[in-house]
Amino acid sequence: MNQHLSKRGGQDMQRRIYLISIAAVIIFSILLGRLWFLQFIDSDRLKEMSENNRLRFIPVAASRGTLLDRNGHVLVNNTPSYSLAVIPNEVKDRDSLLDTLGRILKIDRSELLSKWEKGMGRAKYFPIVLASGISRDHMEFFEENSIRLTGIEVEVKPVREYPNGTFASHLLGYIGEISDKELSSPEFSEYNSGDYLGKSGIERSFEQYLHGEDGGRQIEVNARGRYLRTISESMPVPGQSIMLTIDKNLQSQAEKALGDRAAAAVVMEVNSGEILAFASSPGFDPSLFSGRMPPDKWDAYLKDKRHPLENKALKGQYPPGSTFKIITALAGLAEGMIDERTTVNCNGEYQLGNNKFRCWNRKGHGNVNLKGAMRESCDVYFYVLGERLGVDRIARYAKMFGLGEAMKCGLENEKSGFVPTSEWKEKKFGKKWYKGETLPVSIGQGYLLMTPIQLAAMSAGVATNGKIYRPHLVKKILDKDGKTVKEFLPELIRQVDLKPEHFRMVREGLSAVVNEPKGTGAAARLYEVKVAGKTGTSQVVKLKDSRGAVPYEHRDHALFVAFAPYDNPEVAVAVVVEHGEHGGAAAAPVAGQILRSYFESKGVIKGGRRNTDEDEEPESGDETGDGE
C-alpha cells in the first residue's frame, strides 16, 4: 500500500527537508530581528507615541437607511438613543454621585451601583453605561451639568425604530449585532464586532444599500483616555433608503383581515408584479430583536403553534388544493381534451381500478361543464380530466406558470414550491408513477406545493392572458436626498403561451365561483367591482374521522386566489389560512376585505359601505376527497 522510500530518494528528501528547516530558522530570525527593531531600537519613539499618544479612532456609525412604503410613508426609521455613562477613575465621590443620579433618573440607587460594579472588571478609564434609553430632557440636563457632576458622560447612538410594532414584521425584518460567523465572512469584511446589521427580511436582503459607510473621528485623548479634541474626521455616508412596493394602508388592512390566525396574504399588481401587501400572521415585534429579547417573550414565540417568526408568505409551502384546478383546466383546454360544453357526470365519487376517489360533495354535482365544475369546485370533473392528461402534462402547464421554482421576489430564502412528475418519482423512490396518484394532483393535492407568492402569480397570469411579471417588493432605492439611485422596473418573466379564449373560459369559471349562485367563493363578492377567484381547501393529513374532533394541526388549510376587476384586472390576491378548514369560509372573506380596501382607497368604492347583501349565504367551501 505504501511506497517505501528508496534509499537514494529518501536521502534526497531528507536533505531538502534539512534545507527547509534552515530556511524556517532564517525566517524566524527575521521575525525576531524585526521584533528587536520595534521593541528595542525604535521602542522609545513608539513608547512616546503610545504615551502622548492621544490618537484614537472613534468609529461613527453611519445612519441606516429608512424603509418607506410606495407612497413615501416611513415604515422603519432611526431615533437617537441617549445613555448615561460614568468613567470610574474620574469620579471623586461615588456615593453622592449615585445618590444624585438616582434622584434625577428615578432609578433605585442599588440598581445603579450593581451596574457600576459589574462594569468595574474592565479598565478604569473606560466608561460604564449606567442607564440607557434616557429621555431627551435628562440628556440635556446632564450635558449642562457635566462639569458639576465630574466623571459622567452622555453617549448618543442611533437605534432602529419600528414605529408600527408588528406591522409587516416578516417583510421588514429586524437588525441585530453581527455574529462571529458573519464577522469572519468576506461579505462583512468592512464590519467590526459590535456593529449592527440586518438579520432578516428587507433589512437583511438589502443590507448593502441600507448600511451606509461608517466614518470616524481621529481624536486626541489624555493619558486617562478622555477626549481632548478632534484631529481629523471622516464623515459617515448614510445608508440609502428603500422604497417598497407595499402600500401601507393596504398592508394594514390585509393584516387586520388575517387577524391572529396563522395565515398569509399576498396582493400584487398584475401588470407590474409590484406587491402591494405581503402579510404573514401572527407578526412579531422587530424592535425586540435589536435590543435585549426578554427570554419569556422569545420562548413564547418559539412555542406558539402558529409560528409567529416564520414568514409564511415567503417560505410557507402549501398544497394548493382546488385553486390548482385553474392549471388543470387550462391544460385540458390547451390539449383539446375539453371545451366549454364538455360535461362530466358527477355522482359524488369516481372509480379508478379498485380505488374510489370522492368528490367533496358526496351527493354529487350531476352533469357539470367546465364553468359549473369550477363554480362548485367539482372534484370528479377534474379527476376525469386529470386522468386523461396524466401527471407529466399537468406538470408541464404548471411549470409554464413558474410553479416549482422560486420567483425571486427579492427576499432571501424564498421557497420554490414543488411540482411532481413521473420522472421525479422514479428518481426519488425508484417506483413508477401510478394513475391513482395523478387524480389528487389534478385537484391540487398529492405532492404539489405552492407558496403564497406563486398563488398570486398564477392568479395574475390567468387575469392577463398569461403575462407574469416578477413579483417584487422593492420599487426604488433612494439616496439621502431622496434621489433615485436604482429603480426596479416591471420585469416580464413568463408569457404563458395559450389561446386567449382558453384563458377567457377559465376566467368565466372563476367569475362564477364568486358571483353566481352555488359558487364556493361568494364570500369574496363585491357589488361595486366584479371579482373572480377560486377557493381551495387542502388536506394536511389523510383519512380524518369526524370533522369536529380534528386537532388544530390536522385541520385543512384554507386557500383563496382572486383577481379584480374582472373586465380589466388590476390586482391579484392570494390568501392562505393555515388550518382554516374551508377556503370559501376562511380565506375568501379575507380576500374580499382586502379587495374592498384596495378599491376604497382608489375611490371606486365609497368608504364605509359594507357588503350588506346577504341573500346568498356563502357555501361552506369545497372539500377535497382523496382515494383510499
Binding site: 522510500l5 524566524f28 499618544n53
Partner: protein, 366 residues
C-alpha cells in the same frame, strides 16, 4: 488494533508545545477582550472550550492510522471541489462574497478543510510520483492542475487569505519533493502577468485597498493604514519587558483592531515585551522544527510529505500573521495558530497537530 507501541511512542513533547502555546493564548485573549463590553460567555472561556473540542479532534485524528488517508485522499479532494463549486453556484448571498455552504442541517466553509485536504492529496500524489532529480516542466503540470482548481475556486469567493495559504502549503511540499531551478525561475517570471491579471480581474476593491495601504499606510490613516500604525506602536511601546498583563494601553484603550483575533499577538507583545515574545517565537520555532524532524525521520514517503505539509501550514500562518502584526506584510485576515481567538482556526490547527502526532508515533511501524 491499538498497538501498545503507539502509546509509548506518543509524542508528548509536541502535544506539550501545542498546549503551552494554547494556554498562553487563552491568557492573552482574556486581556485582549478585557475592555470589551460583551454579554454572554467571555471570549477567553469560549476559546477554552474550542481548545477542548480541538483536543478531542486531535486525539481522534491520531487514533486512526494515517496510512488509511492515502486511500481516501482523492475522494476527499473530489468532494471538497464539489463543495467549493456548490459554494460558488448555490452558496447563497446576493451580494459581496460567499464562503458558506448550507447543507440543510449545518453550514460549512469548504475552503478551510481544503488547507488540510490539499496536503493529503499532494502527499498521496508525490508518494507515487518520484521525479528522480527534481521536477521538470513535464512533471510539474499535473500537480499544478491539482492545486490550481481549488486555489482559483477559493480566490473567486473571494478569500485571498485562504487561497494564498493553500498555494504556500502546496509550494512547500513541492520544494520538499524537489523541483528544478529553471522551472522555479520560469514560474516566477510567469507570476508577473498573473499578478497583473488578478489585480485587474480577481481582486475586489477592499483587497486592493489593503495592498495599497500596506505599501503606503499614510494613504488611509483612518482605516486600514491605521491598524498597521497602531499595531506597530503597540508592539514597539512594549519595549523589552512589556507594560504588564492587562496594562497595555494600546489594547485596553482599544487602539487596536480585532485585537482578540488577528491582532492578538500585538496585545501580547505590548504587555509582555521583547524577551517573552522571543520565547514565544522560540516555542513556535521549536514546533516547526520538530514537525520537520518528524517528517524527515518518517519511513514512508506519504507520511514524510504529510508531515511537511502540515508543518508548512502552521508555519505560514505564523509568518503571515506575525509579519502583519509587526508591519512586514499587509493586513490579511490570517489568525495565529493556537493563539488567536476563533473556533475554525483552532480546529484546523488541532487537526494538523493530530496528523503530525499521528505520523510521529507510527514511525516504527515498518
Amino acid at each position: 488494533m491499538i498497538d501498545r507501541r503507539l502509546f509509548t511512542n506518543f509524542d508528548w513533547k509536541m502535544l506539550l508545545l501545542v498546549l503551552l502555546i494554547s494556554a498562553v493564548g487563552v491568557l492573552n485573549i482574556y486581556s485582549a477582550s478585557a475592555s470589551y463590553n460583551t454579554a454572554g460567555i467571555p471570549y477567553a472561556l469560549k476559546q477554552f472550550y474550542w481548545i477542548i473540542i480541538g483536543l478531542g479532534l486531535l486525539l481522534f485524528t491520531c487514533s486512526i492510522d494515517y496510512h488509511l488517508l492515502e486511500d481516501v485522499s482523492y475522494w476527499f479532494y473530489g468532494i471538497l471541489i464539489v463543495f467549493l463549486l456548490l459554494v460558488l453556484l448555490v452558496g447563497k448571498t446576493s451580494m459581496g462574497a460567499t464562503r458558506w455552504l448550507h447543507l440543510g442541517f449545518f453550514t460549512m466553509q469548504p475552503s478551510e478543510p481544503m488547507k488540510i485536504v490539499i496536503i493529503i492529496t499532494f502527499a498521496r500524489f508525490f508518494s507515487r510520483h518520484q521525479p528522480v532529480s527534481g521536477m521538470g516542466f513535464r512533471e510539474v503540470v499535473l500537480p499544478m492542475a491539482i492545486l490550481s482548481v481549488p486555489a482559483i475556486l477559493i480566490m473567486k469567493q473571494p478569500d485571498l487569505g485562504t487561497a494564498t495559504m493553500v498555494c504556500l502549503v502546496a509550494g512547500t511540499i513541492i520544494l520538499a519533493v524537489g523541483i528544478k531551478w529553471r522551472v522555479v525561475i520560469t514560474m516566477l517570471l510567469a507570476a508577473v502577468p498573473a499578478c497583473y491579471v488578478s489585480w485587474h480581474y480577481l481582486l475586489r476593491a477592499y483587497q486592493k485597498n489593503r495592498v495599497l495601504n500596506f505599501l503606503n499606510p499614510e494613504r488611509d490613516p483612518l482605516k486600514s493604514g491605521y491598524h498597521l500604525i497602531q499595531s506597530k506602536i503597540a508592539v514597539g511601546s512594549g519595549g523589552l519587558s512589556g507594560k504588564g498583563f492587562l496594562h497595555g494601553t494600546q489594547s485596553q484603550l482599544r487602539f487596536l483592531p480585532e485585537q482578540h483575533t488577528d491582532f492578538a499577538f500585538s496585545v501580547f507583545a505590548e504587555e509582555w515585551g521583547f524577551w517573552v515574545c522571543a520565547m514565544m517565537l522560540f516555542l513556535y520555532a521549536a514546533l516547526i522544527l520538530w514537525g520537520l524532524h518528524v517528517a524527515s525521520r518518517c519511513n514512508d514517503r506519504f507520511g514524510t510529505l504529510l508531515a511537511v505539509g502540515v508543518t508548512a501550514m502552521i508555519f505560514w500562518h505564523i509568518v503571515i500573521n506575525m509579519g502583519m502584526v509587526i508591519g512586514l506584510f499587509p493586513v490579511v485576515g490570517v489568525p495565529l495558530p493556537f493563539f488567536s481567538y476563533g473556533g475554525t482556526s483552532m480546529i484546523t490547527s488541532m487537526l494538523g497537530a493530530g496528523l503530525l502526532l499521528n505520523v510521529s508515533m507510527r514511525r516504527f511501524m515498518f
